[in-house]
Amino acid sequence: MAVMSYIQAVTSALKDEMERDDSVFVLGEDVGKKGGVFKATEGLYDQFGESRVMDTPLTESAIAGVGIGAAMYGKRPVAEMQFADFIMPAVNQIISEASRIRYRSNNDWSCPMVIRAPYGGGVHGALYHSQSVEAVFANQPGLKIVMPSTPHDVKGLLKAAIRDDDPVLFFEHKRAYRLIKGEVPEEDYELPIGKADVKKQGDDITVITYGLGVHFALEAAEKLEEEGISSHILDLRTVYPIDQEAVIEAAKKTGKVLLVTEDNKEGSIMSEVSAIISENCLFDLDSPVQRLAGPDVPSMPYAPTMEKYFMINPDKLENAMRELAEF
């Protein structure tokens, strides 16, 4: 096992898959010589050349649309949106096209494409470099949305996404890129898309989250452990479609559930998780299903005071978890 950072796991998965399969190629803004604004594609241009590590014009709709065409031809494009915030011009191509190609053609055509994008806040990125955008897409059958939390999951899930025969949105937490490090197997491995993962077993309360929230939850859980509160932590990993079984099991395990996202509260994917629990676990619940999320304002401001106020952090989780345990 090698220890690598979250972003190194991205690069490593791309490199492996490009070596394994000639049909895999990368396209996006500044992904070539520069290696991406976050360096996710560093070294790939040198290794695979400019036709497989393509700097595109500054046109998200074309990045998605040209990728879709190439995928229909039989390629496996991995498109990068420079920031998740800038995926918006590509929404029509992603929702109207990529997600519906198999269905609308009655299984004749398909679109095996990955769209990667760094999302999330706490990096002084302000309104347009901090957003969680998954909720915009989490109602579109035909799409899958993966949001991994650890280098191990990043690598296994990105490989799975590239090998998947359908379009996958792969959102990487930009603050996790260098903050989060972890062990990653040397050998080739894939993790199943659509499956949540228990990151910590516990008995008193259940926290369901994803991305950076997983680390905040683990950190908070450790402190609470000292107070005798035992937390069960489920990492969704795939936020669309949600792993219903895993959610139900985790909720039933403790009967007390906290849902955590750094997205705005109203209409986040945690609403769906709550609805699933409501439908399936009503008589197993000992307390109302709580949500900890960003306030309902358009993403987080630049000024550190307001950014901190918006963004979830281990303290906020700790408080919410303790409150739930004490309910």
Partner: protein, 336 residues
């Protein structure tokens, strides 16, 4: 042989080829007309027509390599998909939304074409999204060293969408073998050309993407053939993309849901009908002696029979089962 200039020989087209082109144009027209009848009889909920654009569609398609090239057609391209190999029978299955419809198994409205075995990309309703797809096909083929081209078609109103700009710029930067043909019928539903497009012509927009732009008489299949053939040659020679604007007429209302009397005058509609390529091309073929009275009768009979059979077969074909609505959201095996 007649006195008339034999234009198709000059283009390297045989008598059989032009007759075949005419046959496909006529077939497209007659299928379309039948669909209107079926719609007016309450048998199919919707029609959107190719009428008036057959010459452009057939002229362009026949200039391609129909065994290797790809096409991303738009909803009026009945003529294009026929040329690419979709059958009359299949088109009626689509019109009736029957399970065996190869385009979508009855999931999409008619005019939403797609058939992988014939390299017809699956299409949607939002206009112009298919343009970047055709660019992606050309890019992928180029990566593989396959010397093929893709054709993408769209209406002139649709040439104002952002995807037109982004897609053609991408093709231009990478000099990809994409042929874009705008079928300019001078209306986007009710909105006339001068409220749609600020440039003198759509062809003028080629300059913005470093590619040649040609305007061509879309009522003349041979002229369209010539220009598209030329574009295809350029594509095959690695000289990159071409933009073509075929000037056509929309002989019908926008669709079976539209009433064009609300925004076009009778005179305008009459004038348009004078330009019908079905009439002028037939006349040309008669003039050069390729189309005889006899052949014409046989052709009409053959096509009518084909359409009658296809209509009946499609009408009697089964719908998909209700629960089939759940199928094919994702690959059956795979990452799920």
């Amino acid at each position: 042989m007649s006195q008339v200039d034999n234009r198709h020989q000059n283009l390297g087209l045989s008598d059989e080829q032009v007759l075949d082109m005419y046959r496909t144009m006529l077939l497209a027209r007659k299928i379309d007309e039948r669909m209107w009848l079926l719609n007016r009889a309450g048998k199919i909920p919707f029609v959107i027509s190719c009428q008036g654009q057959e010459a452009a569609q057939i002229g362009a398609s026949y200039a391609l390599n129909l065994d290797k090239d790809y096409v991303a057609p738009y909803y009026r391209d009945l003529g294009v998909v026929l040329a690419f190999g979709m059958t009359t029978h299949e088109l009626f299955l689509a019109a009736f939304a029957k399970a065996e419809d190869p385009n979508s198994g009855g999931r999409q409205m008619p005019g939403h074409f797609g058939q992988k075995k014939n390299r017809i990309l699956t299409g949607s309703s939002p206009v112009t999204t298919q343009l970047p797809h055709a660019v992606g096909i050309a890019l992928a083929a180029k990566m593989d060293g396959e010397n093929i081209a893709s054709l993408v078609t769209l209406g002139e109103g649709s040439s104002n969408q952002g995807d037109f700009h982004e897609g053609l710029n991408f093709a231009g930067v990478h000099k990809l073998p994409v042929i874009t043909m705008v079928e300019n019928n001078k209306y986007a539903i009710s909105v006339p050309l001068e409220r749609q497009i600020s440039s003198e012509s759509v062809a003028d927009r080629g300059v913005a993407y470093g590619m040649p732009g040609y305007q061509v008489d879309g009522n003349d299949p041979l002229e369209v053939y010539r220009v598209v053939k030329d574009a295809h040659d350029r594509a095959m020679n690695g000289e990159g993309p071409t933009l073509i604007e075929a000037m056509t007429e929309r002989l019908t209302a926008h669709s079976s849901d539209d009433n064009d009397k609300a925004y076009r005058t009778e005179e305008e509609i009459e004038e348009m009908k004078q330009k019908d390529s079905l009439i002028s091309f037939a006349q040309y073929l008669r003039d050069v002696g390729v189309l005889t009275e006899e052949k014409e009768q046989a052709l009409n009979k053959e096509i009518d029979d084909e359409i009658n059979e296809a209509t009946e077969a499609a009408e009697n074909a089964p719908y998909a089962e209700p629960e089939d609505a759940l199928k094919y959201v994702y690959a059956e095996k795979g990452g799920e």
